[in-house]
Amino acid sequence: MTSLSEDEAVAPRVADQAGPARAAGAALLCPSCQSPVASSERFCEACGADLGPQPAAVAADAPVAEAPAPAAPQAAAAACHECGGEVAADGYCTQCGAAAANARHHFTEQPAPWVAAVCDRGVRHVRNEDAVALAAGPHAGGHAVLVVCDGVSSSTDSDVASLAAARAARDLLAGGPRIGNTDSVGTRVAASTKALVLAADAANDAVVAATTAGPGNPASCTFVAAVIDGKELTVGWVGDSRAYWLPESGAPRLLTVDDSFAAEQIANGVPRADAESGPQAHAITRWLGTDAPDHTPRTVSLDLDGPGWLLVCSDGLWNYCSEAQDLAGVVAAQTRSAGSEPLALAGALVDWANARGGQDNITVALARVGAGPPHSTAGTTRPIAVSSPEPVPSREEVQTDGNILS
C-alpha cells in the first residue's frame, strides 16, 4: 500500500534504519490497532499508525544523522499506559479500557539538530490527519527537506494518505541529486523545481495507493515541501499548507499562496483577516488524491543569505497567526520562553496553537538557517524565481501576488 519510492538512494537506507522489532522477522502487529503489518511497511495499513522512525539520509554519501528516538512503541504487547493492565488485541486495556497509546496522534521528527518537527492531533479532532516527514544533513545550513501534508478531513483514510504522501515526497527529495554550487542560478532553480514536481507526483501516487477502493470520499491531502540546499531554498505546494521565511533581520515572509477559496478572495481585494474567517475559509481548490484535478505544485525559490527560521506548517498553526509578521512575533515570543532548539521550539508553537483551542491538527516543521541568533548581519533575502510548471489553472494567476514576494 505504501508505494515507497524504489529510488536506489533511498531504499537501502530504509532497510538499514529498520528497528529491532522489525528485523526479528516474527509476525508483527501494529502497536496501535494490533493489525498484522509487514516488516517493510512504515505505517499501519489499517489505522495509519506510525510503525517506527524512518529518518532519511540526504544522500548516499552523506553522514547520516543520529536516528531520533522511536516515535511509536514497539510492536511487542504493551502494558496499559494508564493503569499498567494488559492491553487486549482490540487495542484497549482489559482493566481500565484506556486506548493504547496512538503514535499517530502526536509524533516528532528531528533528523539533525537544526531541523525538527512536531505533528499533533490538536484538541478538537479525533484523528491526526496531518503528517510531516523530514530529512537533513548533519551540518546546519547544509541540505534539508521538510514536507507537510494535511489530510482533508471530509475524506476517509486521509490520515493514512497524508503520512504516505509526506514520506514519499521526502524520500524522493532526500535521495535526489545534489545541486552543484558551481551551477548557475538558473540551472539550480530549474533542477529544484523539477525535483518538487516529481516529489508531488510521488506524494500523489502514495495518496492514490492509500485510498480504499470503492465508493466514498477518496483520500486527499495538501502538500508543501521545502528544500534547503546551502543558500538555496525552494518550496513547492498544493493546497493551503504553508512555508514562511523568518529572517533574523528583514521582513518575515509568507512564501506560499494558498490554493484556497480564501486566497482567491484575497487576490480579489478582500482583506486577509476577512477572507480567512469566512464560511469557506478552509475550502481548498487544489489537493493531492484520486480526484485531484491537477496536483502540479506551484513553486518558489529564494536565496537565503542571512540567518533565520524556515517554518513549514499546516493551517492548524497559521489559523492563529496568518500574517507573516504575526507569526514572526509568536516565534520570537516562544523562542524567549522555550529557547531556540528547533524541536523544543516546534513543540512550543504546537502548544501555543493548542492553547488557542487546537481547532485543527497542528504541524510545525522548523529549520534553523545560519548560526544561532546573531546580531544583525543585514542579510538581504532576494526572491530569485517563481515558477509554475504547466499545466497551470487560470486561478494560479494569484501566484504573482505582490504581498507574497515583495
Binding site: C83, Y92, Q95, G97, V123
Partner: protein, 425 residues
C-alpha cells in the same frame, strides 16, 4: 457452523464532564442450522396445553388441531412430550409408564397425535404444576442442550397461589425456554408474561381459537430453526464504571439487567437462549468516570459467548470532546430504541392505571404512548392504541379514553407493547 457478528451503533463523543455512554449493538447469527443437528447436543420440545374445564367446546378442539400442527413441525430425532394441564399436570404423551420423553419418528408422531385427539376439558388451572412437570421431563434427558416448550392457557392461575407459581418459575429458569400463548380474554397478560420473561420466551394473545394452529406451527418452526442451543451476551465494562442497563430492544423489549451472571470482576453474562438465523438488537448503557477532553477510552466490550467461547465482539467507545457538533448528536438507533422502550413502558403503565380505575394516569400514559408511537413510526402500536383511546393530537399526545373498549383489544395492546419496529440504519 453458526457465525455471529456484533455491530455497534453509537455516538462515542461525550461532552466535557460527560459520563453516560449509550450504544445499540446488533447481534446477528447466520448458518445456525437446525435444532439438535448442529453437533452441540440434542434438542427437546414439550407442548403444554391447558385442558381445564373452561377449554371445553371450541377451544379444546382448536387446541387438538394446534398441538397436532406443532408436532408436525418437530424434526425427527428431537426429544419430545405433550403435557395436558389443569389444576395438575398430566403427561399426555408418552404414556408408556416410564414418564420420560421419547425421540420423534413416524410412530411416535402418530401416537402423540392420537393422544392429543383424546384430550378432554376438565379441572382447574395451576400453571406452576405444568412447569414443574416440564422441568422434570427436560432434566431426565441430559443429552438435550436445547430445551423449549410452548405453553397455552385460557384462564388465570386460580388453583395455586402466586407464590407457588413463582417457585415453579424459579425452578424452571435456565432449564428451558418457554413461548407462552393465551387464548380468549379470560387469562391475565401480566401473569403469563411473568413466565415468558423468566423463561426467555414470548407472550402473545390468540384472540380466536381457529388462529391457534397457525401460531403453534410458527412457534415450533422457529424453534426447530434454532440450531444454536444457547448463547449469552457478555458485557465487559472498565474498572470504576457502572453498567446502567442491558436491554434487548429488538425484536422485542426485554430488560436483561437483572439476569446478570458474573463472569469475572468486570464482565457479566446475560443469557439469551437459542438462536436461529436472525438478528437482535441490544441497548447497553454504561456510566464512566469522566476523562479530560481529547481522551479516548473503551466503555464496553459487548460479546457473544457460546459457553466459554467468545464468538463475536463489538466495541463501545467513549471520546471526550469540546466540539458541540460532535457531542450533541444522538445516534438515531439509540434514539429510536430509547423511544420504543419508553413506548412499551407507557402502554403497560397506562393499561395498569386504567385497570385500577386511575383515569388521569391512564390518559397521561396512553397519551405519551401515542406520541412515542408517532415519533418512532410504530404504526402497529398506533393502530392498537386507537382502539383504546380517541387521539386528538398525536404530536402532543393529547388523547381521551374511549368509553367502551373490548377486553381483547386491551390485551392485544398489552401483549404487543414490547414489540418494536426496527430502526432504519
Amino acid at each position: 457452523m453458526a457465525t455471529f457478528s456484533a455491530d455497534v451503533y453509537q455516538n462515542e463523543f461525550l461532552p466535557d464532564g460527560g459520563t453516560d455512554v449509550h450504544a445499540i449493538v446488533t447481534v446477528a447469527c447466520s448458518g445456525a442450522g437446525e435444532a439438535g443437528r448442529s453437533g452441540s447436543g440434542d434438542a427437546a420440545e414439550i407442548v403444554i396445553v391447558d385442558t381445564s374445564g373452561s377449554m371445553s367446546g371450541e377451544n379444546i378442539a382448536a387446541v387438538q388441531v394446534a398441538a397436532s400442527a406443532a408436532l408436525d413441525q418437530v424434526l425427527d430425532g428431537v426429544w419430545f412430550a405433550v403435557v395436558a394441564g389443569s389444576n395438575q399436570a398430566w403427561l399426555a404423551y408418552p404414556q408408556d409408564g416410564r414418564s420420560a420423553m421419547v425421540q420423534m419418528n413416524a410412530t411416535t408422531r402418530a401416537q402423540a397425535k392420537a393422544a392429543v385427539a383424546g384430550f378432554r376439558a376438565q379441572g382447574g388451572t395451576a400453571m406452576g404444576t405444568w412447569l414443574t412437570l416440564a422441568t422434570r421431563l427436560f432434566a431426565a434427558v441430559p443429552s438435550a442442550t436445547q430445551r423449549h416448550a410452548i405453553l397455552l392457557t385460557d384462564g388465570y392461575n386460580q388453583h395455586e397461589s402466586p407464590e407457588q407459581l413463582s417457585a415453579a418459575i424459579e425452578a424452571a429458569r435456565g432449564r428451558f425456554q418457554c413461548d407462552c400463548r393465551g387464548v380468549g380474554s379470560a387469562w391475565q397478560v401480566a401473569e403469563v408474561r411473568r413466565i415468558a420473561t423468566a423463561l426467555l420466551g414470548s407472550v402473545d394473545l390468540i384472540a380466536q381459537p381457529q388462529a391457534m394452529a397457525a401460531d403453534f406451527e410458527q412457534i415450533m418452526r422457529q424453534s426447530m430453526g434454532r440450531g444454536v442451543a444457547d448463547a449469552a451476551v457478555r458485557v465487559w465494562a472498565p474498572q470504576g464504571s457502572q453498567v446502567l442497563f442491558v436491554r434487548q430492544v429488538s425484536p422485542t423489549v426485554e430488560d436483561l439487567t437483572t439476569r446478570r451472571q458474573e463472569v469475572n470482576a468486570l464482565t457479566a453474562a446475560y443469557p439469551t437462549g437459542a438462536w436461529g438465523d436472525e438478528s437482535r438488537d441490544y441497548h447497553v448503557a454504561v456510566r464512566l468516570p469522566a476523562k479530560a477532553v481529547g481522551q479516548e477510552q473503551l466503555a464496553a466490550r459487548v460479546q457473544v459467548a457460546l459457553g466459554d467461547e467468545v464468538v463475536a465482539q463489538g466495541l463501545v467507545k467513549a471520546m471526550w470532546s469540546n466540539d458541540d457538533t460532535l457531542t450533541t448528536r444522538i445516534d438515531p438507533a439509540v434514539a429510536h430504541y430509547t423511544g420504543q422502550a419508553e413506548l412499551a413502558e407507557a402502554i403497560q403503565d397506562g393499561l395498569a392505571a386504567k385497570a385500577a380505575g386511575d383515569t388521569d394516569t391512564a390518559t397521561v400514559k396512553l397519551g405519551r404512548a401515542v406520541q412515542l408511537a408517532e415519533e418512532t413510526g410504530n404504526e402497529e402500536a398506533t393502530t392498537r392504541l386507537r382502539k383504546i383511546v380517541e387521539i386528538e393530537d398525536a404530536g402532543t399526545g393529547t388523547v381521551r379514553l374511549k368509553r367502551s373498549v373490548s377486553k381483547l383489544d386491551e390485551m392485544a395492546l398489552d401483549t404487543a407493547s414490547t414489540k418494536t419496529t426496527r430502526v432504519k440504519k
